[in-house]
Structures are given as C-alpha cells and as structure tokens.
C-alpha cells in the first residue's frame, strides 16, 4: 500500500512541479489522441450511417468484420502501418515514420472501426420514425440523417469516448510508429513502458495515474456535453 501511496504522491509532485518530460509526454498524448479521435469520428460516423441506411449484399458480413476489428491488437496495427510507412513501404517517401503523424495514422486505424461499429449498433436499434418524421416535414435525405444524428448524439458521443479511451491508452502503435523519441513522439503510455523497463515502477505508476486523471477529466467534459441533451425514454404519441 505504501508503494502505491508513494506513487500517488509522486504523480502529484510530477504534475505540480511541471516536470518537463511529463508535460511534453502529456502534450503528445493529448494532441495525438485528440487528432486521431476527431479524424476517426468524422470518418467512422458517416460510414456507419452509410452502412446502416444502404442495403447492399455483404452488409451483415461488413458489420461482423467491423465488430471483429474492434478487437484488433495495437501491435498488429503498428506492424501493418509500419509496413506502409517504412522507407521501403508504399508511403515511405512521405517520411511519416517516427513522427506524431505516424502515431495518428495508426490510432485512426484503431479507433475508426470502433466508433463506426458502435454507431452502426446504435443505428440498427434506433426507430426509423425519427428519420421519416423529418422527411414528412420537408427534410432532404441528408437533413433527415442530420436530424437522426442529433437525436442519437448521446450514443454517438459515447462511441467517440470509447474511441478516445482506446487510443489514449494504447502503447503498441505509439512505440512501433512513433519510436518513443523524447520530446517528440514520447507520450504517457510509452513513457510508462520506458520507466518500467528501467525499473522505475513508482514513476511508471505515477504516470499511469496522470493518464487516468486526464482520461477522467476528458470523460467528465464529454459527459457534461452529452448530459445537457440526455433525456431518457422515448417520445412517441400513444406509446
């Protein structure tokens, strides 16, 4: 217990002392995770709507594949993206490898199927009366989908939170594609891995607590945003 307490004290000390390594790792973690989550949201959610609203052969298989991709190991993503970004890879000439952009690409690959699959699951369960009601009031197909998105925004935000949590806490992609370069691609999770390998368990746990603190703060912000519109129950006439 004393060991954990020391770690907790060190975490507070690291935060309050504005430790340069911790601050920089936190900055990289937040920036990379936010950017990849935003990209994943703007790609995953529209893809989910397309999958859900269009009937095509292989739709069920595609949904099953998406669900499977939610369990994709981060090291595997790191490995596959590495193959594309390394010097001999198709995109090697862009020089993305061992930059935060490589980490963002890997994390987008990680989070997009997750956000997409969770949004598809929501859309599959939602009553299409919402969309049809909008159409009866003069909405175009696109406007009716926006109206539907507005109605299920709490569930969409939940999917985005899940995506953010997954990329913020991953380590495999960051190490393989970022290279753990100090003050450049080293983030909180790769720092934890490094400190633990050095035997600095207390510092590792302290960084883990800082990671949890950030994750908690961000989740609270999301909850406050989604909580404003949360109304339980359904609003069907005569239901």
């Amino acid at each position: 217990m004393e060991y954990l307490l020391d770690s907790f004290k060190e975490a507070i000390y690291l935060l309050l002392s504005f430790d340069k390594d911790v601050l920089q790792a936190s900055r990289v973690s937040l920036w990379v995770a936010f950017t990849s989550t935003i990209i994943s949201t703007f790609s995953g959610v529209p893809i989910a709507f397309l999958i859900s609203f269009r009937n095509f052969s292989g739709k069920r298989i595609l949904i099953t594949v998406l669900n499977t991709l939610m369990a994709l190991p981060t090291v595997l993503i790191g490995l596959v993206v590495y193959a594309f970004l390394c010097r001999r890879g198709i995109f090697g000439s862009f020089g993305f490898l061992y930059t935060p952009w490589a980490m963002i690409i890997g994390q987008v690959v990680l989070a997009t199927p997750l956000i997409c699959a969770l949004t598809v699951a929501t859309l599959e369960g939602v009553d299409r009366t919402i969309e049809r009601t909008a159409v009866t009031l003069g909405a175009s197909r696109f406007q009716s989908m926006l109206a539907l998105a507005q109605e299920i925004k709490v569930q969409i935000i939940a999917a985005v939170i899940a995506g953010f949590g997954r990329v913020f806490a991953e380590v495999g992609i960051s190490i393989m594609l970022g290279g753990n370069i100090r003050f450049y691609t080293r983030n909180i999770t790769t720092t934890i891995a490094l400190e633990t390998s050095k035997g600095e368990f207390s510092r590792g746990i302290a960084l883990g607590l800082i990671l949890l603190f950030f994750a908690f703060t961000i989740n609270v912000i999301f909850q406050v945003l989604s909580g404003r519109s949360r109304i339980t129950g359904r609003s069907f006439i005569g239901a």
Binding site: I130, R132, T136, L137, G138, A139, S235, I237, G238
Partner: protein, 327 residues
C-alpha cells in the same frame, strides 16, 4: 384537376399484400377521408402518397406538376417528437423552408394558440401528456401550411373535446387556397362529419361499399344461383357469388330495408329483429337492428317518421342476395 393518380399499385411485405389498388384518382383541392378497419391498408396508402415508401409495383403519380416534395406534409399515426422543447418541435419543418427566425416563431405562435399549447412552448416534450404531444405534432404539421396535408388518424388518443377542436381546425383548412387534405380514420361518423368524399378500404383494397354490415362468412353452395353465407350460430345470408370458402361479406346499409311486417318480395334475405339503436348520419337515420346478427340500415327521415320507429321495437330487415358484396 387531378392531384394523385395511382395505377396498379401494390405494396407487399413478404407474402402479405398490404395494398392492392388498380386505379385511384384523387382530385386537387378536395378533402378526402379514408375509412376502414385496422389493417385495411390506410397507413400504407398514406405512406405512398407522402412518398415515404415506394410501391412494390405500379405507380403513384403526383399529377400536379407545380407541386414538389416540400408541398406535402404528413402527420404520422405515431409521430416522433424530437427531444427538445415544444416550440423547437413546432418550427422544425419551417427550418427546411428558409423562413426567417422571427417569422418562424410568429407562425408557430398562431397555430399553437389555436390549439391551446402556446403556454407549453418552452417545455420539454418529455413532460407532456399524450394529448399534448399529439397537439404538438399536429401544430408541427399544420404550421407548414402545405398544399397537400396528409393526416393519419389525427384525433386518435384524444378525448372528445380535443378531437372536436382538431376536427374544427382541419375543416377550416380544407379547401382553403386549393389545399388538399387526405386523412384516415376508423370512426365513420367522423368521416361523414368532415366530408362527403369518404374512401372505404378493406384488406388493402378500395371498396365501393360502405363498410357497415361486414361479416366473416363461410360460403357454401346453396340453391341455384346463390350461395349460403354462414355467419355465426347457424345464421345464414343468401349471397349471389361464384366464390366459396372463408370470405368477408358486406351489405351497404342503404340497401337494407326496414319494415314492420315481413315483406313478400324478391329479396331472399329477410330477418326479424329488435331495434337496438337509432342515430343520425348526414341526411339519413341509422338504425341498428339485432336479428341474432346486428345489421345497420340507413333510411330517410320521411320513412323513419312514417314507420314511427322506436328502440326496442320489432322490425324486419330485408335485403337482396345480390346486394351482398363478397371480398
């Protein structure tokens, strides 16, 4: 001028044929009420007219070239209220019509005051009662003031006073500025109260008879040229038809003759019964007679006075085998 033309329209859900209309023309500027029992295909028809669904086969044509998608509004039977305030729900459709915000509120206020729900404008729809929700959805449809208004059971789930108010508001709009209204109901009295253009539907088809005196019957061979329709408890009606087996039959109440004594006539169906109810529909007196099976009959006021009928009195119900329609 024609508004809609439906040609060979069928709507199927798997094996089930929910709608089968060879030809139906609806005129521009008219108020139509579609009447029929549950599962008659009323809502399916409205969904096609509102272009929410496409027919499985055939064509639904909006023949008036000046009208577009935004000239049609439909109030669904179970409309969804968006999870926001009452006012935002009412102005929802106005936002799609490039109407300025001030004007939106002005239009909403006018219709909401008419419906008595302006006081609820800032309430969340989740706090409303069933009747209030229905009124909000009606306001949301009416505020758009579209050329074609499609209403699926607008007075369902409302009490009598509220239903009267809605009827009054709808009636006021009917025929105003060439507006066309197509509404469904399963209340025949309401249908006739509102319009003369009542379309009768049963089992996915538009039928030419008025849907009283509908019975499930087992048709078997009878004497030459007729069939026996067994209703219940051995009650038999003579029918002219070629079909046999389980069917629905209907008798237009205008073809049901009421007499004090048994008539000697060519009509094959004559039953003795008791008057159990007397009412009024448009220019007719409606009598319900219990003969073991309940029949409705429409007679003129003159005939009613001449026969001086009262509830509980014994009368004879007579109609021809050829006036029985088989579905």
């Amino acid at each position: 001028m024609c508004l809609y033309e439906l040609r060979d329209v069928r709507k199927c859900y798997g094996e089930l044929i929910a709608l089968d209309i060879p030809l139906l023309r609806l005129k521009n500027g008219y108020f139509y009420v579609i009447y029929g029992p549950n599962a008659a295909g009323k809502t399916t028809l409205l969904n096609l007219l509102a272009f929410l669904d496409s027919p499985s086969s055939g064509e639904v044509i909006l023949t008036n070239e000046n009208l577009g998608r935004k000239d049609i509004t439909m109030l669904m039977q179970n409309p969804y209220l968006f999870r926001t305030t009452v006012l935002k729900n009412v102005i929802f459709g106005l936002k799609y019509r490039s109407i300025r915000k001030k004007e939106q509120e002005k239009l909403a206020k006018s219709i909401m005051e008419e419906l008595g729900i302006w006081r609820l404008k800032d309430e969340s729809v989740m706090k409303l009662s069933g009747g209030e929700r229905k009124k909000v959805s009606i306001a949301r449809a009416l505020v758009l003031d579209t050329r074609v208004l499609i209403l699926d059971e607008p007075t369902a789930h409302l009490d009598r006073n509220e239903a009267d108010l809605i009827e009054e508001i709808i009636e006021k709009r009917a025929g105003k500025g060439g507006k066309s209204i197509i509404m469904t109901t399963h209340d025949l009295n309401q249908a006739f109260r509102l319009t003369d253009n009542v379309i009768f539907m049963n089992e996915g088809k538009v039928v030419n008879t008025q849907l009283w005196n509908i019975f499930k019957a087992n048709l078997t061979d009878g004497s030459e040229g007729t069939k026996n329709a067994f209703i219940k408890n051995g009650f038999v009606i003579k029918v002219v038809t070629d079909v046999t087996g389980q069917r629905r039959i209907a008798i237009d109440p205008r073809n049901v003759i009421i007499s004090r004594n048994c008539m000697v006539s060519s009509a094959l169906n004559s039953f003795r019964g008791k008057i159990i109810n007397i009412g009024k529909i448009n220019n007719f007196i409606k009598l319900n007679v219990d003969t073991g099976v309940e029949f409705s009959s429409f007679i003129t006021e003159d005939s009613f006075k001449k026969l001086s009928l009262k509830p509980g009195e014994e009368v004879f119900v007579t109609f021809k085998a050829s006036s029985v329609e088989v579905f």
